[in-house]
């Protein structure tokens, strides 16, 4: 990306965030709380050294899912199936980790690889829907999430359930197979996601693969005319996207929850936060990554603000949506300001 491109993409971001914070402050003030205090708690809650690990722990899946959404988006493909891919990844990682015998490091590796491959394949399959059946990936990826969720939830609720607990969840991952803890809630899984993220950002910027993907995103007809093969390219992009989502699922299961639990991967809304980050960055993986981390800080800060000030969490959700809304409209806002 050129310097000018960077400025254009970043233009208005501080302005938009400020507007969001101002409006949020009004709402906080209206509910009889001190906005300044609330923001202070939010900032320390997200960024103070003790809390930074919480932010990092939350940023891992959000940034991962942002990347998973950004890569196909760069090629003009919208992957709405993150939830299904996440669940497939988490579930298969849990099953391998729990049931496959062998040296721990090998089992962990196998669990992660299995998660990536299965989720990647499931994601890539949507491309055939588009090229063979003319069902856009946007729709098929969204709809295919449901059978994936159904199958894994069924398996976790019945044949593979840990019968010593009252929830629908698999057996716990054996201690030595888990990803090791670096600090508090942060495991080596975060490092893994970070490494993959950096690789993806570099690949998008500096390789022929990234170049071809970008050109496809800007004009698919041009890409086809130039000899870039539509189907394999889409399959590659969707496979990578699904594999990253699968990796995120595996990292959560092996490094944080230590089980596959029905609902636990989806309810935090990592997929949607990630998608928003990717859309805000127009598919640019680096910006998507940064936006994902920003969202994670915002959300972690929101939890902290609720803890410290007892401002209900719904208010921090409202605040977050203001900031995202203004970020989405930043170009219009800036244009109006400076023609």
């Amino acid at each position: 990306m050129t310097k000018r491109g960077f400025l254009a993409a970043a233009g208005g971001v501080p302005f938009a965030i400020t507007l969001g914070l101002l409006l949020g402050a009004c709402v906080v003030a209206l509910s009889g709380e001190n906005p300044l205090n609330a923001y202070l708690e939010m900032a320390t809650g997200a960024l103070a050294p003790v809390n930074l690990v919480d932010t990092l722990a939350w940023a891992t899946p959000v940034a991962g899912m942002a990347l998973a959404a950004a890569i196909p988006l760069r090629g003009g493909i919208v992957n709405l199936g993150g939830d299904g891919q996440l669940v497939i990844g988490g579930f298969s990682a849990a099953v391998v980790a729990v049931y496959v015998p062998g040296p721990p490091l090998l089992v962990t590796t196998a669990a992660i690889l299995c998660a990536c491959v299965l989720a990647g394949v499931y994601s890539a399959a949507t491309v055939f829907g588009e090229t063979r059946l003319r069902i856009p990936v946007l729709i098929s990826s969204l709809l295919l999430s449901y059978p994936a969720i159904a199958a894994t939830y069924y398996l976790a609720a019945f044949p593979l359930r840990d019968t010593t607990t009252g929830l629908a969840q698999t057996l716990a991952v054996p201690l030595d197979v888990r990803l090791s803890v670096l600090s508090g809630p942060v495991s080596t899984g975060s490092v893994l996601v970070l490494v993959v993220a950096i690789l993806a950002v570099l690949a998008e910027r500096f390789t022929t693969w990234g170049y071809e993907l970008r050109m496809r995103g800007l004009n698919k007809r041009f890409a086809i005319y130039s000899g870039i093969e539509d189907e394999p390219q889409a399959i590659r992009a969707m496979f990578i996207s699904g594999a990253i989502a699968g990796l995120v699922g595996a990292v959560i299961v092996l490094g944080s929850h230590y089980r596959f639990q029905n609902g636990a991967l989806i309810t935090p809304g990592y997929t949607w936060s990630g998608l928003m980050a990717a859309l805000l960055s127009k598919g640019n993986p680096l910006f998507a990554l940064l936006s994902g981390i920003f969202f994670a800080a915002l959300q972690t800060g929101g939890f902290a603000m609720q803890r410290e000030t007892q401002i209900p969490r719904v208010l921090s959700n409202i605040l977050q949506s203001f900031i995202i809304l203004f970020l989405a409209m930043r170009q219009g806002l800036v244009r109006r300001r400076t023609p």
Binding site: L142, L143, L144, A157, V314
Partner: protein
Amino acid sequence: MIFNMFTVGATVQAITPILLAALAASLCGRVGIFNIALEGQMLLGAFMAVVGSYFTGSAFLGVLIAMLSVVMFTSILAFGSTVFRGDSVIIGISMNLLAAGLTAYLLRQIFHVSGAFSDPGIVTLRKLRIPGIEHIPVIGWVLSRQTAITYLSWLLVAAVTFFLFRTATGLRLRGVGIDASAAESVGVRPDRYQISTVLFSGVLTGLAGAQLSLGTVGLFAEDMTAGRGWIAVVAVMLGRDHPLLSAIACVVFGVADAVSVQLQARGLPSQVSDAVPYVVTLLALAATSLRRTKRNRTRAALG
């Protein structure tokens, strides 16, 4: 358990909010704005309908207040995605987040409860009985004992279809969605049509929300839309922004859901039966696409 007048009636009733939301989204789609805020619009509508009904003691006023407030809420999408050049998907998703937060917050502020507000003071919408046809099997089951909003929703499907394809404003609206710059070049200002259409989607989703809270259960519960907005989004994708086709997709989905309950009662695990409507939808889509591709197998690789 088999289909009877109660389950058929409940299915029709369950389809109504999805249908109205799909109608709203298909209109937005026609002017080229992807409305993914349906979930939030409906949720706010459901809440404001309860507020209105509780404080005025009139279900009608409740519905009216729901529509008005959702229209105001929808101005975020209407102006955000046009004048302020925001991405409609991001705006839509954050509106959903906003509506969830706002309704939960207002629930505490207004009713001093959290979770759900259920009170005999909430005046619900009456189910209309149509004498005569009520006892005819199937037709009577479908057509009778529904709220006015349900009848209205099906009239609206017809009205919106007629409006889009027969009136001058409908033509302009479609044109704006096909190619905004072409519309602009003959002096039709795309922004105006987009803004008014999106705002109108607030009327429809407000109705949808009111039907959910006042027409179905007579209470408000946090996040009670529970994904209905997304189902409407899928229906509109299936119906390719055509109000009638989208309505059919809603019916297919609703019937599949009703069937999935029956399958559950016959021993299909609930985790699996939950996916039935989506799988049916996907298969229906694949089947129609397959037929279409067969018909024009001969086409250039460049679509």
